[in-house]
């Protein structure tokens, strides 16, 4: 049969094998792929080498504070054996977890407990460490790990002068914040101009003490 229509529409030329190969994503991206392998290898090496140090840094951040929190600054050099417990507290149908360090002297005697507590401050979350004596009857110290309170006012909660008020307070009664001088044992003097920040820290401590009291046994 004779082809009556010699003018055929143009068909795309079939790609030769070579061209097809060159257009493929794999070949286009060979450099990217190579770099991925190379960089990925480098990064995993770095991670393997440095991760233990970073993890240790993170743990130390808390651990270094513990002797001072429990024994006071004068005896902070004494080495303590630390053991981490996770204590679960049931609250209004919701579970709250506390990371509590159990600290013992070299001879095995219990030195006290240190727990991490978190709560809302005036500006953002406040994260702090709270030290309790072996029977959880007295607060031995407070250290603020992280806060973003107003500079010049609320951020005075990190000062030694203000924090040291908490040391020695008994846990059987809730702490209250007062302005202009402490009159009773369970009172905490507010930072002038930063009553809310002062109250937030005290509230975090009250909550933590209440949650943990009775759960800490040597």
């Amino acid at each position: 049969m004779v082809d009556m229509n010699p003018l055929k529409p143009l068909q795309p030329m079939p790609l030769s094998m070579m061209q097809y190969f060159r257009e493929s994503y794999i070949v286009q991206g060979w450099l990217v792929l190579m770099l991925c392998f190379f960089f990925g290898g480098t990064l995993s090496g770095v991670q393997l080498k440095l991760n233990p140090i970073i993890e240790e840094n993170k743990a130390n951040e808390t651990k270094q504070r513990i002797p001072e929190l429990l024994l006071g600054p004068s005896e902070a050099q004494q080495p303590l054996d630390l053991k981490l417990h996770t204590i679960e507290v049931e609250k209004k149908g919701r579970k709250v977890f506390y990371n509590v360090y159990e600290a013992r002297f070299a001879d095995g005697k219990l030195a006290g407990w240190v727990t991490k507590a978190v709560g809302q401050g005036y500006a953002d979350r406040i994260e702090l460490l709270l030290g309790l004596d072996p029977n959880a009857e007295k607060i031995t110290g407070v250290f603020i790990l992280d806060q973003k309170e107003t500079p010049g006012l609320g951020n005075k909660i990190v000062t030694e002068k203000w924090r040291s008020q908490f040391a020695g307070k008994e846990t059987k009664q809730l702490l209250t914040v007062v302005k202009g001088g402490v009159k009773a044992d369970h009172q905490i003097d507010a930072i002038s101009g930063a009553t809310i920040s002062s109250k937030s820290v005290t509230a975090i401590i009250n909550t933590a003490v209440n949650d943990l009291k009775g759960k800490l046994r040597g």
Binding site: Y122, T150, P151, G152, L153, S192, G193, T195, I196
Partner: protein, 330 residues
């Protein structure tokens, strides 16, 4: 000035011809910056007088520092920009006095100095001098020191238990109410024997000065009207929701810097909208922000931030309220 020159240049024989000049058509050639500023200073007199009476040396001290620093800052910064010194229009004096009246008497000297330099430098000259600024200069200065020296200008900065002046030994009425629920007697708020920023304590003095400004048309009545109206409405709602607190609408109006802000700060013609409708919207905005900050923020008072916020939206209000020429398409 320009208008005057144009009138002078018209030849004498053309006296009978109606003279047509390009806008602005200033109907009253006496309406100069200088006269307006003098008006504001006169209107501030009762406020300043009351501050001197209640706070005595504290007020003198703060006034001298702020006005002197504002003059110094004005001459320094305008010289730096290579412009003729514009001390004669009294705008620096007005900024200085308003700034002093908005600071606590107990603030240390450097607070006044820094606030004045920031007010004139960052608040005004950097934008191109008087008439060009977006934000009220005095409030820019105050906001700067308020954040910089939080302890000197926070609620406790106002109190000095050892002061010889009774007012200063107490907490400001708004702080006392916010923190301890103590309601100050209305008469004290009205006459001005309470603690607070120097110029804000006496509602009476603010009203006298404010009415003078409105009658002289130096300030537009729409702005204070808007502020007071919306504050009264929100105050009344708050009263209905929480009547046992005892803080009534009149407490809201007379307490704190609401009246001082409404009459003297928000009415700055440079930083408020141009049209009457726009001015009213501006006043409503300022009043609403004041009440919002008073009721829901950590600060006891919100006049400064309210005015600055509304200054920021002034260009927008101006755009919304362009008057439509008669006969133009809708």
């Amino acid at each position: 000035m320009e208008n005057k020159q144009q009138t002078d240049s018209v030849p004498a024989e053309a006296g009978s011809v109606i003279h047509v000049a390009p806008s602005p058509h200033l109907s009253d050639t006496a309406l100069t910056t200088q006269r307006m500023m003098m008006d504001v200073l006169i209107a501030l007199a009762p406020v300043v007088g009351m501050a001197l009476y209640v706070f005595q040396w504290y007020a003198v001290h703060q006034l001298v520092i702020c006005v002197a620093s504002c003059f110094a800052a004005e001459s320094l910064f305008t010289t730096m920009r290579g412009k003729p010194i514009t001390l004669k229009d009294y705008s620096a004096a007005v900024t200085g006095v308003i700034l002093a009246m908005s600071l606590p008497g107990t603030a240390p000297w450097y607070v006044g100095v820094i606030a004045s330099f920031v007010a004139i430098g960052i608040g005004k000259v950097i934008f191109g001098g008087i008439g060009m600024n977006i934000f009220n200069p005095a409030m820019v200065g105050r906001a700067f020191v308020m954040i910089a020296f939080a302890s000197a200008l926070g609620a406790t900065g106002y109190e000095d238990a050892l002061s010889k002046i009774d007012a200063i030994t107490q907490a400001t009425p708004l702080t006392a109410f916010k923190q301890n629920g103590i309601v100050a007697p209305l008469a004290d708020l009205f006459w001005g024997s309470t603690n607070g920023s120097l110029g804000e304590t006496s509602a009476l003095a603010c009203i006298i000065g404010g009415l003078y400004l409105c009658i002289r048309r130096t300030a537009s009545w729409e702005i204070p009207a808007g502020v007071i109206l919306i504050s009264a409405v929100i105050g009344e709602i708050q009263c209905l929701v929480n009547p046992q607190a005892g803080w009534t609408v009149l407490h809201h109006l007379c307490g704190g810097a609401l009246l001082f802000g409404a009459f003297f700060i928000a009415t700055d013609p440079v930083t408020s909208p141009l049209t009457p409708k726009g001015k009213f919207i501006f006043g409503i905005g300022v009043g609403a922000f004041i009440m919002l900050l008073r009721l829901f923020s950590g600060y006891p008072e919100g006049v400064m931030f309210a005015v600055l916020l509304m200054n920021g939206v002034t260009p927008l209000i101006n755009r919304w309220t362009i008057p439509r020429p008669l006969g133009s398409a809708k």
